[in-house]
Symmetry: C2
Subunit: 190 residues, 2 copies
């Protein structure tokens, strides 16, 4: 299945939103990076920038969710899997010169009080991440409430570490947040 023009537009949006945020990215810039004519963006997204933004948030969120399986499936246990997820985030930050962090967080903060449809899209994504992580922790033997709290704490630590790492241009916060998440998980597993 070849990549369609619509796919290229969403991919370009995802990359630019991550680097510059939603408000800081223009429609012209998006089609230029997607090698698409300007009009096609409104052909595929009649709702304009907001519709494209919502679609981009959902696609980026689903892609990032797949990373969870990518790290946790081959891991010998859930603790090791979480440990390697944070280590992988640190590698990505360093290799991208601190450009690639969370694909959702920047837009989430920008739109939380400015666009209800976009805020709802970011909420759906975060909910899906929380549910997926909580399911993994429940599979490891934790009760539902503990699993959910651990999932939220782990994702909060990850998100906050992305903020600090990109601002400080250092992976130290990601290493600390990973250690905290692992310690909390170990303690809960007894």
């Amino acid at each position: 299945m070849p990549e369609t023009t619509k796919d290229r537009i969403v991919d370009a949006s995802a990359e630019l939103f991550q680097l510059q945020g939603y408000a800081g990215t223009g429609m012209r810039q998006i089609v230029a990076r997607a090698s698409a004519p300007f009009g096609s963006i409104y052909h595929h997204f009649p709702g304009g920038k907001e519709e494209l933004g919502a679609e981009t948030i959902r696609v980026s969120g689903a892609l990032y969710l797949q990373l969870l399986d990518l790290f946790l499936d081959p891991a010998p246990d859930v603790v090791t899997g979480v440990e390697e997820f944070f280590a992988g985030a640190a590698v990505t930050l360093r290799e991208s010169d601190y450009a690639e962090g969370c694909p959702i967080a920047t837009v989430a903060l920008e739109v939380a009080s400015t666009s209800e449809p976009l805020r709802a899209a970011t909420a759906e994504v975060f909910d899906s991440w929380i549910d997926a992580a909580a399911a993994r922790f429940a599979d490891a033997g934790l009760d539902a409430a503990t699993a959910r709290a651990l999932a939220i704490g782990t994702i909060a630590g990850l998100e906050g570490a992305f903020v600090l790492c990109r601002a400080l241009r250092s992976t130290e916060p990601m290493e600390v947040a990973g250690a905290v998440a692992v310690a909390q998980l170990r303690a809960a597993l007894g």
Copy 2:
């Protein structure tokens, strides 16, 4: 000392940046909220939006740093102080209808890869918070390295919780992050 026009401009910028981000806030909107004529913004900030942004980041960061003293000075011990800081953040989120989170994080993510002067300003702010929190933890008896790691972990948890709370319109992540920070601190204090 009466509030000057320059102060009002910085205050208005801080409020708008928190709600809409840096790119999403216009110079016209800032002077309108500050009840100042348009020209005065370039009189006080010849460097334009970037200079105003840097000043706003520094002032907002210093103000938020004062909150640390406000919560930790009257607390009977550092654990209780941290606990109440997170509880206060949850109250602020709820009372502001999830509009008031971290005054720096939105801009920090936006500018991390787009403006080196602004990124450096956000880094200075986060460094000052880390140093202040680490000093508090060291005063409580921890060695420097442990105190620093706890400070970074606590601030990362706080920042990530702000992201999740504003997106989900729930204070649950802040409550979880507060419990994690308190647990880590208690464990380190022995």
